[in-house]
């Protein structure tokens, strides 16, 4: 080839034997969703193995947490999975509440559930649009962003921010909901299932889409469990595990909803699982806005948050999987140790197993189906 052994930002190939090539995708590559670098060892056309090289977006979020007071750190967690900031906030606030032994009042829990489910839908919509774009369908992106926009408008009206919301406070909510909040959620839910049908019309039975995703990136239930993979990927492989059901938090124990699971654990199943999850989220939303209780929105946690010494691990079902916060308190206003268990980071481990034996074009689809956010992988 024209320039072997030349390394560029985008791609780098080295001819090893006549057959084995190392292809470097990223960190500046349009479909690695940020600054992921994947080193692929190719056996001819097929991927023999892969290696993820991460850390390009490392900001030391966990270390920052140890140098900030508990409330001060809350906005930082929004910057980990920046497309699902509300879920991050929920996980952190509940973890600190658990450490304090406090519990948010019912109204706060209900509002938290509504916002988190909206966030789940928004995150899945973003995933669907970009995943379809990776596979070459440009139109779904605009459809999904149309709906995501509605959700972001609700966030903006609620807390003034669209992306990095900092929606919750330790002990409950900072703000009371605005007038017409429930109605807006209701209006959103009213035609959202029709919108999902619209996406399905474009993709689900589209022969090219099926061919591109069916049996691509298969991961079996055993492997998924062994690797600690969570979220839609685990459920796509047929494991019915959802923390909202298994260890209910916020107000999830109050609502009826189903956990969709796949059978084959391939990209197509994960696609269907996520679509169904959006429908279930809509179901939760409809129940929640009907039953939202009145009352205070903030528990009495005091002005200065100073948890007793001890440690806590609290996890929630974020859109991408299990999001856990492990906090060690030494009795001061700052955590002694703070550790985030980000779903993307753990799920990304499965990439190597998923891409083996597939073609380079499939790697793009598989990275898309894992639904990683590099802010969360690198922290």
């Amino acid at each position: 080839m024209a320039a072997n052994n030349s390394s560029q930002f985008g791609v780098e190939t080295t001819v090893l034997g006549a057959d084995e090539i190392i292809l470097n995708m990223g960190p500046q590559h349009p479909s690695t969703h940020g600054v992921l670098r994947v080193k692929l060892k190719l056996d001819g056309e097929k991927v023999a193995s892969s290696e993820c090289i991460i850390g390009y977006l490392h900001r030391g979020v966990e270390k920052i947490g140890e140098n900030r007071t508990y409330p001060q750190f809350a906005p930082y967690v929004d910057r980990t999975d920046y497309v699902a900031a509300v879920s991050n906030g929920l996980g952190y606030c509940e973890a600190v509440e658990k450490l304090l032994g406090a519990e948010a009042p019912p109204r706060a829990r209900w509002v938290r559930t509504i916002l988190t489910e909206l966030q789940r839908i928004a995150s899945h919509l973003l995933w669907l649009g970009t995943h379809a774009l990776d596979i070459g369908a440009i139109t779904p992106l605009f459809y999904t962003f149309r709906e995501r926009e509605e959700i972001l408008k609700i966030f903006e009206k609620y807390c003034g921010a669209r992306l990095t919301t900092h929606a919750f406070r330790i002990g409950g909510l900072q703000y009371e909901t605005y007038g017409g909040f429930e109605d807006e959620v209701r209006v959103f839910c009213k035609d959202f299932d029709k919108r999902i049908d619209e996406y399905e019309e474009l993709l689900t039975s589209n022969r090219i889409w099926v061919e591109r995703t069916r049996d691509i990136g298969v991961i079996t239930a055993e492997h998924a469990v062994a690797m600690g993979v969570t979220g839609p990927i685990l459920r796509g492989s047929g494991v019915r595990w959802d923390i909202r059901k298994a260890m209910p938090y916020a107000a999830y124990d109050q609502f009826q909803f189903d956990i969709p699971i796949g059978q084959r654990g391939d990209t197509y199943d994960r696609y269907l699982v996520r679509l169904e999850e959006m429908r279930q989220s809509r179901r939760i939303l409809l129940q929640a806005v009907e039953s939202i209780p009145d009352g205070p929105i903030l528990a009495r946690v005091g002005k200065v948050i100073k948890p007793p010494p001890g440690e806590v691990y609290h996890s929630i079902e974020a859109p991408k999987g299990e999001l856990g916060y492990y906090i060690v308190s030494d009795g001061t206003t700052q955590p002694y140790r703070l550790r985030i268990r980000p779903p993307s980071f753990i799920n990304l481990q499965a990439l190597d197993r998923m891409v083996q034996g597939h073609l380079v074009a499939d790697v793009v689809a598989i990275i898309g189906t894992i639904d990683i956010v590099l802010g969360e992988v690198d922290r």
Binding site: Q8, P30, G136, T139, Y143, S205, I208, D258, E276, A361
Partner: protein
């Protein structure tokens, strides 16, 4: 109908006549095409935008009508970058080949009866041959960039083009068998003689030609050479400015060229729909209706525009366009020979535009094939079906010529046999299965 350029013939010196008339035609075709290409890009952006619930270009001129000009100027004025280590001669040559291959083909396309730059008796072979030269623009551009993405894109593209050219060739053969000539205008005339467009007796060949045409022009769902999620922009990743615009021009001109070939071979070229049906003669006023609609559209949109002074130019422009269209419509009504003169070109362009709309529609709808899937589709499905179609088309022709069966009937027997083969072939590939994910409890 006569060649509109022949009007000039008596005024020219005899020696120059054989040079000047073709040159004039070439000039008209070239300029017209460049304009059409510019506005095809605009149409693509607008149509895609409307498919994707957005507006598309709206700022430059009323409804973004001047956007192509702005884009062209921008591309012309951009810095011209040649990557280090690139082979500068080939880097310069490649886009030129791309454009030349696409534009030269038009010399053999009959836009109307007698409106053809040169009517060679092997015209069809020449068009196919020359348009296949476009592949050099792609391979050489990808290779000379001295970069990996362009190289991979170029190799993919070359493999794809070579594969689908086979299917394209077989699809063309059936039109050839029906008309018994390789001359482009002869093929249209054969369709007039038979009184039926070949698409109605050879639908499978038309379909294969259509799919192969999409693949040949690297359009979605076969746009792998430019798969942005995998190969950035494919073979023209390193190109910018004027050279990039040349590629752009060549790509869209190639789209129009393959559409023109398909229209000529299967959709009756310059003939209006149902030319043999007398009472549909009023259709010859379709250009009038089109321009009248343009006038209506312009006026209606001018009404909707804000009255603020900064909108004055936009409003004036729209009104001007509407007025121009109205004048044209009036001329068509008032002077019947003019309507007759534009008939051929009008219907030809209408059909080409319908084709191009299909191209754009697909782009807004389909995901992209993977490379091996694309190759499998080409070699395992398209080419066998195309070969079967050619054979059964021949069988149909024998039935017609030797046994005296009806033309359409015998060809439809061939088509049905082809469809049978296609069905057998598709039985081998896996049909999309029902969804397996069901809600649990």
């Amino acid at each position: 109908m006569t060649n509109p350029f022949d009007i000039l013939a008596p005024y020219l010196p005899d020696v120059l006549e054989p040079f000047i008339l073709p040159l004039l035609q070439i000039g008209v075709v070239f300029l017209g095409l460049s304009l059409i290409v510019a506005y095809i890009v605009y149409a693509e952006r607008k149509i895609l935008a409307h498919i994707q619930v957005r507006l598309g270009p709206m700022r430059v001129g009323p409804h973004g009508l001047l956007q192509p000009i702005a884009d062209g100027l921008k591309l012309l004025l951009k810095e011209d970058i040649i990557p280090r280590g690139a082979d500068s001669f080939i880097f310069w040559l490649a886009p030129v080949i791309s454009v030349m291959a696409a534009f030269t083909g038009f010399a053999l396309i009959p836009f109307a009866d007698n409106f053809i730059v040169t009517d060679v008796n092997v015209g069809l072979l020449f068009v196919i041959g020359i348009s296949s030269l476009g592949i050099y623009g792609i391979i050489l551009g990808g290779w000379s960039s001295n970069s990996h993405y362009p190289l991979l894109g170029a190799l993919r593209s070359a493999a794809q083009l070579v594969s689908y050219e086979v299917a394209l060739g077989f699809a063309i053969v059936s039109a050839l068998l029906l008309s018994g000539t390789l001359s482009m205008s002869g093929i249209v005339k054969a369709q007039i003689t038979h009184g039926v467009w070949f698409v109605f007796v050879q639908p499978v060949a038309f379909f294969i030609l259509f799919v192969a045409a999409i693949a040949e022009t690297n359009r979605n769902p076969f746009d792998l050479p430019e798969a942005e999620s995998e190969l950035v922009a494919g073979f023209h990743t390193e190109y910018s400015g004027f050279r990039f615009s040349l590629y752009f021009l060549g790509e869209y001109a190639a789209m129009i060229l393959v559409s023109s070939i398909a229209v000529t071979l299967f959709l009756g070229g310059w003939t209006r729909p149902f030319q043999s049906v007398g009472w549909l003669d009023f259709l010859k006023y379709a250009p009038v209706a089109l321009f009248a609609f343009c006038t209506y559209w312009c006026v209606a949109h001018e009404r909707k525009m804000p009255r603020a002074p900064e909108w004055r130019w936009q409003r004036l422009m729209l009104l001007g366009l509407g007025g121009g269209a109205a004048v044209l419509a009036l001329v068509f009504v008032a002077v019947p020979p003019v309507v007759d003169a534009v008939q051929g070109v009008f219907w030809f362009l209408v059909k080409v535009c319908a084709f191009l709309y299909g191209f754009i529609w697909f782009r807004g709808t389909f995901p992209r094939y993977r490379f091996d899937q694309l190759m499998r589709l080409g070699w395992h499905y398209m080419i066998p079906v195309a070969i079967a179609n050619t054979i059964f088309c021949g069988v149909g022709l024998v039935l017609w010529r030797s046994l005296g069966w009806s033309f359409a009937g015998s060809l439809w027997i061939g088509t049905l046999l082809t469809l049978l083969v296609a069905l057998l072939l598709s039985g081998q590939t896996e049909a999309p299965e029902p969804t397996v994910t069901r809600r649990g409890s």
